[in-house]
Amino acid sequence: MSGRRPADHGSELAGISRDILRRFCRLPSVAADAPADPRPGDGWVCFTVGLEGAWDGELVLACAPGLARTATARTLRTSPESVTAAEIDDVLGEILSIAVGSLKAALPRPTTYGLPTPWSADGRPGSVRVAGSEVRAAGQALRLTLFRRAPEG
């Protein structure tokens, strides 16, 4: 497989996000019209998974704080008030793991991926945003953004 066009990756990311929110977190969601870049800060929960091989880059998840808490509570079947920061990190990291595994079939082979780690905007210099998606659940956003590292030189 040679990989798909960026627009295809965007719609694929939105579909993956909605499927994970519905089946893993038991949360209905809708796709947003204007996908935005990841937004670290303001309490947003941001994780990245590195991609290596035929696709060198990363997939970044950014989730608004209210949705991060709600999604965690729904997944663990507890109240939003009782979830801890570690539980939020665990659930959002798992959402990203499932997302990158789902996306992998749409990337050129061979591409491998690692484990989720916290993300900051300046984490991978030289990476270019290729595609992104935003879905909204419980009134807040979850974004997935696919980056590709520009070839050196």
């Binding site: 089946r23 893993f24 665990d90 798992e94 793991s97 595994g101 789902s102 079939a105 484990l115």
Partner: protein
């Protein structure tokens, strides 16, 4: 290691012992995913013990003296699902243990590699209860229609 129940079981084999739940070991580095699988397996009548990576899962298997079922994630620190499958199948003590890979991996080559390494079957994440039930039936751990 996270013991999800309070039933103390000795050595288990695939055959169901009347009046006793079968033992399942759920291995995943995500507590949330372990939690989801534990709920589903308990609903199917299993006693569940959890482990956070493949090595911890092997240690748990040995400590329990066997298990009817091991459900493992693919991507984990320390020892991943592929390594776990190879280690488990290298030890004839665990020949009767069914190994189910619960993976987010959509790359068929990676899934085939895990099956060749000794996994009996696989499930795509997010795992749903109906899909898990079908796999338990196909692995002959449950009868069709039984919960």
């Amino acid at each position: 290691m996270f013991d999800a129940g309070n039933v103390d079981l000795p050595t288990m084999r695939v055959q169901r012992i009347p009046g006793r739940p079968m033992l399942a070991i759920v291995i995943d580095d995500s507590r949330a995913s372990r939690d989801v699988l534990r709920r589903m397996l308990v609903a199917e009548g299993f006693h569940v013990v959890e482990a956070g990576n493949g090595q911890e899962g092997l240690d748990t298997l040995a400590a329990q003296g066997g298990a009817a079922l091991v459900v493992t994630d693919g991507h984990m620190p320390v020892l991943d699902g592929l390594g776990l499958a190879r280690a488990l199948r290298a030890d004839p003590s665990w020949d009767e243990t069914r190994l189910l890979l619960a993976t987010e991996e959509t790359d068929l080559h990676a899934i085939a590699e895990a099956l060749e390494a000794g996994a009996d079957d696989f499930l795509m994440k997010p795992v749903d209860a109906d899909g898990l039930h079908e796999k338990l039936v196909s692995l002959r751990l449950l009868r069709a229609g039984a919960a």
